[in-house]
Point group: C2
Chain length 202, copies 2
């Protein structure tokens, strides 16, 4: 089960470790010494691969900016599956919110480079929702896509402070209502109003 020795490049080893430490403990909280020590390399080697900590931060965020892979499931399913995946990530103990939002919060509004990539990331997520909604023939896909990313980011923020994966389920239920309201069939009609009422969120 353990993957083969992994012929990783040094740059990748650095990035991998920086990612883990930056994400889990915060960008400002981690010094380059700590990263180098964690890998067991000298600080000099790190600076031979990245000219500055800022460059390392930028590379860290760019590495986090992965496009969600294509899927052959129905668009509505894909959209809802987003929230299931979110719930799984919340449940993992190494989840610490959105790295882009955290970076903006930590580094402040002055850091234009960080803000730029954060905006790009958020917009890419919104566009992903919008494209699926267009496939479904939703009238105002732009507006609904925005509302869905609000639910995603809202549940991430809430989970960050509360450590409660149920936030993802709450977001999913809300998303269902919004989708149904836009004429999308999301099955499971009953759960909306009376009868078997949805699980409680404490």
């Amino acid at each position: 089960m353990a993957p083969p020795p992994a012929p990783q490049t040094m740059k990748e080893r650095i990035l991998e470790t920086a990612d883990k430490l930056f994400y889990l403990q915060g960008i400002r909280a981690i010094g380059v010494d700590t990263i180098a020590a964690e890998i067991g390399i000298s600080k000099r080697t790190l600076y031979n691969h990245f000219p500055s900590k800022d460059a390392l931060i930028a590379a860290y965020l760019e590495r986090r900016f992965v496009q969600p892979r294509a899927s052959d499931k129905a668009p509505a399913e894909q959209i809802l599956a987003t929230f299931d995946s979110l719930e799984r990530r919340f449940a993992a103990k190494d989840f610490r919110g959105c790295p882009f939002v955290n970076a903006v919060a930590e580094l402040g509004p002055a850091d234009r480079a960080v803000k730029k990539i954060a905006i790009a990331f958020k917009e890419s997520r919104r566009v992903w929702f919008r494209d699926r909604l267009n496939e479904l023939g939703v009238t105002d896909a732009e507006a609904l896509a925005t509302q869905l990313v609000l639910l995603v980011d809202g549940s991430i923020a809430q989970d960050l402070v509360r450590d409660d994966p149920a936030m993802a389920r709450a977001a999913k239920e809300a998303a269902k209502v919004l989708l149904r309201n836009a004429g999308v069939d999301v099955g499971d009609k009953a759960a909306a109003k009376p009868g078997k009422r949805a699980a409680r969120y404490p």
Copy 2:
């Protein structure tokens, strides 16, 4: 129009300045020297009022934890007004997200004290929504209240990175749909589906 000289206590002056700097530039980004210099007092004085920076941070967050004042408007109106108020705050140039979420993001998961007050704050907001929903006779007020705070925090996070007050309006529209779905009358029935489609969120 300018308020009278304001017989502020020294402690309050420190807190006020700490609030401004911590919130706008980040807790880690601001040193106690900076705060003292901004007021024009010596660092010694600051440490005579707060035993440590941690204590100052805690006091800063506690000061931010204000209960929303009571209102005699109808509950549904109060709920929706939340999002209007949010939009106004987004439009102000000194808005920098939720101080509690930011603090948790900045200080990391290790800081139990900060996390505790952040959780209390988030819960107080959720309870506020829930109480209004109960007044409206909504069936599952708990779940719906959670969904509404997701919209609030989602729009805050999105505005933090995008600087786009329209996020508050998007949240408000989503909130209307959720409320209507729970049987609450929020007027303005048309905006939901076809006809005059809602404003676009870029």
